[in-house]
Amino acid sequence: MQELKVLSPTAILGYGFPEESFEKGLAQHPDFIAVDAGSTDPGPYYLGAGVSFTDREAVKRDLRLMLKAGKRLGIPVLVGTAGGSGANEHLAWNEDIVREITQEEDLELKVAVITAEIPKAEILKKYEKGKISPLPPAGEISREDIENTSRIVAQMGVEPIIAALDNDVDLVLAGRAFDPTVFAAPCIKAGFPAGLALHMGKILECASIAATPGSGSDCMLGTLRHDCFILEALNPKRKCTVTSIAAHTLYEKNNPYKLHGPGGIIDLEETKFTQLDDKRVKVSGSRFIPSEEYTIKLEGAKKTGYRTISIAGTRDPIMISQIDEILEAVKNMVKDNFSHINNDEYQILFAIYGKDGVMGKLEPQKNANPHELGIVIEVVAQTQEMANTICSFTRSSLLHYGYPGRIATAGNLAFRYSPSDIPAGEVYEFSIYHLLTVEDPKEYFPITIKTMKGSE
């Protein structure tokens, strides 16, 4: 085989794409369609709670077009990090969507489902054997940290996906996967160099974000040869330039020359970017350097409580001039009123927009003098009821707090909403971001083959 063509419809499954761009891609006879469906960027909640950050209807819309096209062209569709975080619940959610599509479109699909969640007991076993190491700047973990974690997934490499493709399936639905793998696996299986395949995958997983003007909701086509790959934006309004592609190589990674992944490093020291014509860029020289030990990255999130928030603003210059003191005094009022509750059972936080609400500690402008401030009252407590209670009391106390020099005696806050307090549910934090050394890259990623049929 001289070359392989890969169609990447969108940056994240559910972010959408214009059908015209997609059809332009299909007209070039791609060998497969692949999409990344997840990320840790939306934060720890989605992994911890087993919920997708993408919308069900939007995912179904994208997937319907992809599955129908795959069937029409007789090519496989690959989905990586299904359901946004790629744990078992996320996979089941995505599988359910696929089942609905097969029924509505009367399709018959052979599907390979690859799980990526690892039971805590297994992680604890590996921990005891010293097989788990922190990925700096994350610190060491304890037995307790692992026990308290709600869900743990591992990022799979290309090996489980290649094994799934050996079953001649129409759809690969993979749990948590290193982003480039769903793009690279079919290429490596067909004998193309891993370095080029993975680097191409790294760019295609963001689809047209790597084009100019960039978009997370538009299609890209990658053509892999044995000595290079070529990228092409499928919307005539966009183009790939050396700058847009090279700049994308920087995106979301700390070192553009060395991209760490399962089992090795994508090395870009020798990579060359060449403008082929006004729309396409050729990339060559990227290499894959296997590491001595095969490691996979673990991600885990644990529940830390329940949150209630209240959003308000102030336009009073006298209040704004002493905002820090006022908030501290209100915190103390709350503590006094609920002295029967232990201090460590709840936390009161104030995000002050107009001051340092966006950058917090990193904010260099300490003495800004804004004419209004946005205030988010946030309470995290051990139960939702307690978070509601503390937030409600903090809100009413701040509303009527009599600070020195106060002239506006009717109320200190402007509320945009009624009800003013919003219970925001469970709160999670990342608790595991570590490497696990494995003997077999496929060990933790079992494959199940299923047939999904429309007219059942």
Binding site: A246, E252, N255, P256, Y257, M359, P364
Partner: protein, 103 residues
């Protein structure tokens, strides 16, 4: 005569590099400006430490990436993305201090 970084750069942005790191990209408009800033090591640990008021140990790396005429700065996040009290889950709005750099 000083020149503002915003005159030389076409992109100045920040983003998570995983939940524990923040990474900032400065992509220059042309190779001449990039080469000059790179040669003079004008973007250095001391400057970043001052702008973000963080110890130099928390600056993980400053890397020049010639193919993109870009300088990449990666720092340790003061709080892990999504932790209680953390203010920017995607890390996409932590670039502003770089806009004030005069060279």
């Amino acid at each position: 005569m000083g020149v503002s970084l915003t005159e030389l750069a076409e992109v100045i942005r920040s983003k998570n590099s995983g939940p524990y790191e923040l990474t900032m990209d400065i992509i220059f408009k042309d190779f001449d400006s990039y080469e000059k800033v790179k040669r003079e090591k004008a973007i250095n640990k001391e400057l970043i430490s001052r702008l973000y008021q963080i110890p130099e140990e928390d600056i993980i790396s400053i890397i020049n990436f010639d193919p993109a005429k870009a300088i990449k700065i990666t720092i340790k996040r003061p709080l892990v993305a999504g932790a209680i009290g953390e203010s920017d889950v995607y890390g996409a709005q932590q670039h502003a201090p770089l806009l004030r750099i005069e060279l």
